[in-house]
Each structure stands twice: as structure tokens, then as C-alpha cells.
Amino acid sequence: MVRYETLVLTVPEITGDETKQVEKELTQLVEKNKGSFISFDRWGKYRLAYPVKKNEYGVYFLARFETATSSDLPKEVANLCKVKLNNIVMRDMTSRLADDASLAYQRPPSLEDTPTTRDVRTFLRENKMEGLLSTVDGNKKADAKPAEKAVEVTEEVEVAEAAAPVETDTADKE
């Protein structure tokens, strides 16, 4: 038995039904060719390195299956992706897994994993543009750091106010 994996790049606006359709078609094809389906992972939405079919974004799926050595299944899977699922699938690549390779793998972080909305203040601080922080309106949503600074300033004021009457008191006593 040989293990294969197919990485499928689909259009970004793929629906849940279409996802199920891709999975169903693949499993049916594998079972038809007397193979066994191992896994079907949805990687998530990605920004592509270059536009594919005029799409800047895409959704990746990784399917893994096992068949006999002399099977035509890899070709069949490629045909399925290129003909029947032509409207959904933009790119597909089937590659053979090494016999002793583990099934664990690393994938790049997708757009769904990383938060897309970023705070203006954190962006300015990370890129060493702290001088521009004053131009941004001081909202309550800002991070802990500006809040700390504000607290420090108020403390200084209080100390100055507290120090002044003490001196006057001592002067009176004298």
C-alpha cells in the first residue's frame, strides 16, 4: 500500500455545501478504486503568493489516502479536480508520501488563525513610530501602556500638589 496526499486550492468564496461536495467526491473516488481514505483537513483561507485565476485569496484542503501500488488513483483524483470540480478547484497537487513518514505536518498560519483587525497604537509602537501616537485619538480601547503613562502623569501632579502645602505648613510652624 502506498500513501498519497492531495493539496487542493479552491476559490475563496467556497460554501459549506461545496466543501462537503469536494470531500464526498474524493471519498467516493477513493473507495471506488479500493483504497482507504485517511484524512481530510481544511487549512483555512490564505492570501496567495500570486493571483490564481484572478483571485488574491484561496482556501486550502489537504486530503490523504492509501491505495495499492499499481493503482491509477492519483491520476483519477487529478482528473476529478480538473474536470468535475473545475468551478471550485483552482489548483491541485497529488504527491506520494514516504513510507516511513509520520502523518504530522506543519502548515503556514492562515488568515483565520491570525487576527486581522489591528490596533493603530500597537502598529505604531511596533514600527517605532511612537512620535505619531499623540496624533491618534486617545480612546479607551487603547492598550495598557498609554494608560500606565497617564497614571504616572496624574501621580506626579498629585505629588506636586501634596508637596506644596507641606512646605507652607512647616513655614507657618516656624
Partner: protein, 95 residues
């Protein structure tokens, strides 16, 4: 009287000599010694492969990265696979 003789060395040779002297330690292949690093050579692991590209998206030569011939070949193959799946760029965008 003795004549002063100037040894003629071409610019290329002198540069080569300078390079040999300036290299403090020999580069070593990071994949030869550790099997864990070898497993990272995979077209799906695009974040790792990105370290072996230049700013323009070309594959970094082994003369710079220090990879051995065997792993440079494997790495190049995986980078090309990742490129075809749009995980890595062929080149940066033209302006």
C-alpha cells in the same frame, strides 16, 4: 642593485585570496546533522522554506546558505512544489 619586482596578480585572484582569509569558520549544512531539520523540508511548511528565498523570491544558492548538495536539491524541489501551489512566490510583483 636589486630590482624590485612586482608580482602580477589578477583582481579576481586577489579577491579570492581575500575571501579565503576573511572566512573565519567554514559553513556547515544544517540538515546533515539533525533528522528533525530534515523533516522540515516539506512543501507544506512554507514558512520555513521562505527562509531559503531571496528578497526577489529566488532560491538562495547553497554557497550562501551552506546546504550540502543533497539537501539543496531536495529543498529546491520542495520550494518549486510550494510555488506551483501559490504558497511561495515565483517572483515579487512588478511595479
Amino acid at each position: 642593485m636589486t630590482k624590485k619586482i612586482k608580482l602580477k596578480i589578477s583582481a579576481r585572484l586577489s579577491k579570492k585570496r581575500f575571501r579565503k582569509q576573511s572566512q573565519s569558520s567554514k559553513k556547515h549544512c544544517r540538515f546533515c546533522s539533525s533528522p528533525e531539520m530534515r523533516q522540515k523540508i516539506d512543501y507544506k511548511n512554507a514558512a520555513f522554506l521562505k527562509g531559503f528565498l531571496t528578497e526577489r523570491g529566488k532560491i538562495l544558492p547553497s554557497r550562501i546558505s551552506g546546504n550540502s548538495c543533497l539537501y539543496q536539491r531536495r529543498l529546491a524541489k520542495e520550494i518549486k512544489k510550494a510555488r506551483s501551489m501559490a504558497l511561495l512566490p515565483y517572483t515579487t510583483q512588478h511595479f
